[in-house]
Amino acid sequence: MSKPRRVPSSGLTILAISWLLIIAVIGLLAPWLPLPFAPGVPDLLHVAEPPNWQAVPRHWLGTDPMGRDVLTEVVYSAQQVVILSLPAALLSALVGALAGGSAGFWGNRGWRLPLGAWLLGLALLWWLAALPGGTRMAGLLCAMALLAWWAAPRWPWVGRANWPLPLDSLFQAALTLLGAVPRLVLIITLAAGPPLSTAQLLLLLVAVAWPEPARQVRAHMLQVRELPFVEAAWAAGLPASRVWLRHALPHACRPLQTLVPLNLAGLIGLESTLAFLGVGRPPDVSSWGRLLGMLHQEPGAWWLLASAGSGLLLTLLALQRLARVATTA
């Protein structure tokens, strides 16, 4: 059976938790911290200078190729991590787990929808696509859906008219749609449009990053749903949703342990690639990815790599540690 529980080595875990807390606190309190320089203000006399602790004004971590103080940028980037990158990584893992878990569990024939639900879906599609007939047709279909829902328990032939929703095929189609267009081409094309607000960018990042966790969870779910304990749950008569949510899904989410730090690294790497290609957010938004991206303009700027790189590295290690603790506890 299972091994006796081991108490996780508390030293490293405490370090991990405290680092993430520090990042969160710094990120949220950034505007009120006593920093010597304001964010996004270039110091044109000291462009791309290494850390110099003798000169006044003192750039503790040096300046980037645009003249901004690296310490200020790193602190404000923590804000971006807390607001954007971390929620994007976590949210994409969540969305991916739900999508992949359901596609893997129910496959193409598991989830049967009644006639009313199908009619409602058709109504929605009609209205969105503005097909001929427009709102009237959509309204008519809604009325038919309500009728079907009312009639289902009364008339058996309506009650039997249910068809399965091909979740797996839809999942594969969505996955391939997002996976086939290379991320970079997608982002480059989207960058040509109007500038994105933080919320829109968050949605975009989640949309780009959810396929990978989804695929892993689905692959794992295909194995997990055949395991004996799931069979036992079915045999016990539990409803399908409960078997899925309480029994199969937690086990199928095991690959996510390593995936969330990877996702975060990937998102930040995407940002730095965009900075390398010259696409992306306005220069007054700081991020570690952008700082790393500036290495391209000034390859000898070790202070950029050291500051942004170590911030990123410590965050990744902390997430890895916490994930390991969470799944083995």
Partner: protein, 582 residues
């Protein structure tokens, strides 16, 4: 096992050593390009690299002389004689050189020039861009007595037509029209045809023959009379040009400057990344590295301080960085506000930070090196926040706790907040925008920075969806014609500030038309003064062209004309070849 790894390492290092010191035979030079020319047909000319390649493959009537900085005759015997006809036409009389000949020995005649012009204007071919550029040439008249003499008739009387009408590659009639079917069709009639109008069979056959020949990727099928021919072209990788062993201009004595072709082989290597290119130059895998960034240039100089293997050149070019205002916006409609905002830019420090002090500051759109026309009595614009504050108040703005507000009659009060657009992939524009934002922030003016992709930027500028923009303007060393920038008739196509006043319109038309130097000087000085007062554009500084070559390459003539160097006259110095052969 260990022996295997050691021997593999030895093999790699020995072959690597042989690669790194292997040099070209000193008859060729290797030049770096950032992107592929894409299309080598003379009818398309998509980018500067294609133009450089075409200048090696073809000859024009007149070409830019890097030594003197003017247009000099290449295929033409001498500069054209100009006759003004009435008040709307210009006639240019040319005579071709007697020695000019195609590769098969046949001479270059006026009929070839006529054929080339008709090809550029023929509808149905992919020549839209060049057709628009050469549409001012209305007609060509051949001289019945002398097959090398002809007259070009141009619409309009601008003084620059005398050399712009000679700057197109001359193509052989025998390549695509051996039966002379086009001789019956006049250029004037051809220019009026559009893509949709019915064409006669001669034109249709011409289009078919052109498409069949496909000179975009096989320039040898539409061969030119230039000194080089294309030997290899690997798309996105490299191009090799080889000198023709017998070229018609070899017989000319003395050899005109533009008809020199000394390197036996010119290779253009396409390396998109600058860091890779600098390393390649230091490893002697490359000979010429043009258009370096300021930091790359400085880094190379620092790396080479001990070894002295490289030569460095920095010449001021005609590319100007400007910031422009949208004069149709209500908040920017008056010149006082624009002058105030112009004083929030800090050109001196920006030049120091982005160009490391190289380049030239200027008071207007005229290059400071044009001493005759540059208005040196005007003050250089500099960072003056106190003056900006005073000007804003003078313009009627009041600073309230909510921001800067100006009361307007019968309309809601105006709020001073700005949106700055610039090209996303250029770091120096971002620095300029950031500096402006910081300076405006000190005065309490909110600024939004919007880096935009280049074609969306053009669209947004045309639509007027901006307050301020920062971009780079390519200047013209030969003519003063600012109508595309600031004349009311070019709104919104190219006049992005949408600036139009009668005085400046008249001034620009007069400048473009006059040939009298003293009059032009007076007009230009007045124009620069007006533009500084009205401030639709803020000229920041002229950029330098930075060039690095291996020590030993001579006669590359680094200059401010595109592309910044002249490869056809380059030679290797004798001491360098003996040093390298070791």
């Amino acid at each position: 096992m260990k022996l295997f790894w050691v021997s593999l390492l030895l093999a790699i290092s020995s072959s690597a050593c042989s690669l790194s010191t292997k040099q070209q035979q000193h008859t060729g030079i290797r030049i770096r390009w950032v992107r592929d020319p894409e299309n080598l047909s003379p009818l398309v000319q998509p980018n500067q690299n294609a133009l450089d390649a075409l200048s090696l493959l073809h000859c024009s009537l007149l070409q830019v002389n890097f030594l003197t900085g003017t247009y000099s005759p290449a295929l033409a015997d001498s500069l054209p004689t100009v006759h003004l006809v009435g008040d709307s036409l210009t006639e240019l009389r040319y005579e071709l050189r007697r020695a000019a000949a195609w590769d098969n020995g046949r001479p270059v005649l006026a009929s070839d020039v006529a054929f080339s012009l008709k090809l550029y204007q023929c509808p149905g071919l992919p020549n839209e861009k060049v057709r628009a550029q050469l549409s001012f040439i209305r007609d060509i008249r051949l001289d019945a007595t002398n097959p090398r003499r002809f007259t070009l008739v141009c619409q309009g009387q601008a003084p620059e037509y005398s050399y712009e009408a000679g700057d197109f590659p001359i193509l052989p009639e025998a390549a695509l029209d051996a039966a002379h079917t086009l001789r019956s069709c006049s250029l004037a009639k051809l220019a009026k045809l559009s893509v949709l109008s019915p064409r006669d069979s001669a034109l249709r056959m011409l289009v078919y023959r052109y498409q069949h020949a496909d000179p975009s990727h096989h320039p040898e099928r539409l061969p030119g009379c230039g000194a080089y021919r294309l030997e290899t072209w690997e798309i996105d990788h490299f191009l090799t040009f080889k000198r023709k062993p017998h070229w018609w201009a070899d017989t000319l004595r003395p050899t005109p400057f533009m008809l020199q072709a000394r390197p036996r082989k010119i290779q253009f290597l396409i390396i998109p990344d600058e860091v890779t290119a600098t390393l390649a130059l230091r490893r002697h895998e490359l000979d010429v590295l043009p258009q370096l960034s300021a930091r790359g240039f400085q880094r190379l100089q620092a790396d080479d301080a001990q070894r002295h293997e490289l030569a460095f050149y920095s010449t001021p070019s005609y590319e100007l960085v400007i910031a422009g205002f949208n004069t149709r916006q209500p908040i920017l409609r008056d010149s006082l506000t624009r002058q105030a905002l112009a004083r929030l830019f800090d050109p001196a420090q920006l030049q120091q930070a982005t160009q490391l002090g190289q380049g030239l500051r200027t008071v207007g759109l005229v290059h400071p090196r044009d001493r005759q026309y540059y208005n040196d009595s005007l003050q250089l614009l500099s960072y003056a926040p106190k003056q900006a504050l005073a000007l804003l108040q003078q313009a009627g703005w009041q600073q309230l706790p909510t921001g800067w507000v100006r009361a307007a009659a019968q309309r809601p009060a105006q709020q001073l907040k700005l949106m700055v657009r610039y090209r996303a992939d250029d770091a120096s524009f971002a620095t300029i925008a950031l500096q402006f934002k910081a300076a405006a922030g000190k005065l309490g003016i909110p600024v939004e920075l919007v880096p935009t992709e280049s074609s969306s930027l053009t669209n947004a500028l045309r639509e007027g969806n901006f307050d301020i923009y920062v971009r780079k303007l390519s200047g013209n060393p030969f003519a003063f014609n600012f109508t595309t920038l600031l004349h009311s008739r070019t709104i919104p196509e190219s006049n992005f500030p949408k600036f139009s006043t009668r005085t400046t319109d008249q001034l620009m038309d007069a400048i473009a038309a006059t040939g009298n130097t003293a009059h032009k000087r007076q007009l230009l000085r007045r124009f620069q003064l007006l533009i500084q007062q009205q401030a639709p554009l803020v000229p920041l500084f002229f950029l330098p062209y930075r060039l690095t070559t291996t020590q030993g390459i001579q006669h590359l003539y680094p200059s401010g004309f595109k592309p910044g160097y002249y490869p056809a006259a380059a030679t290797w110095a004798p001491t360098a070849s003996t040093k390298a052969a070791r």
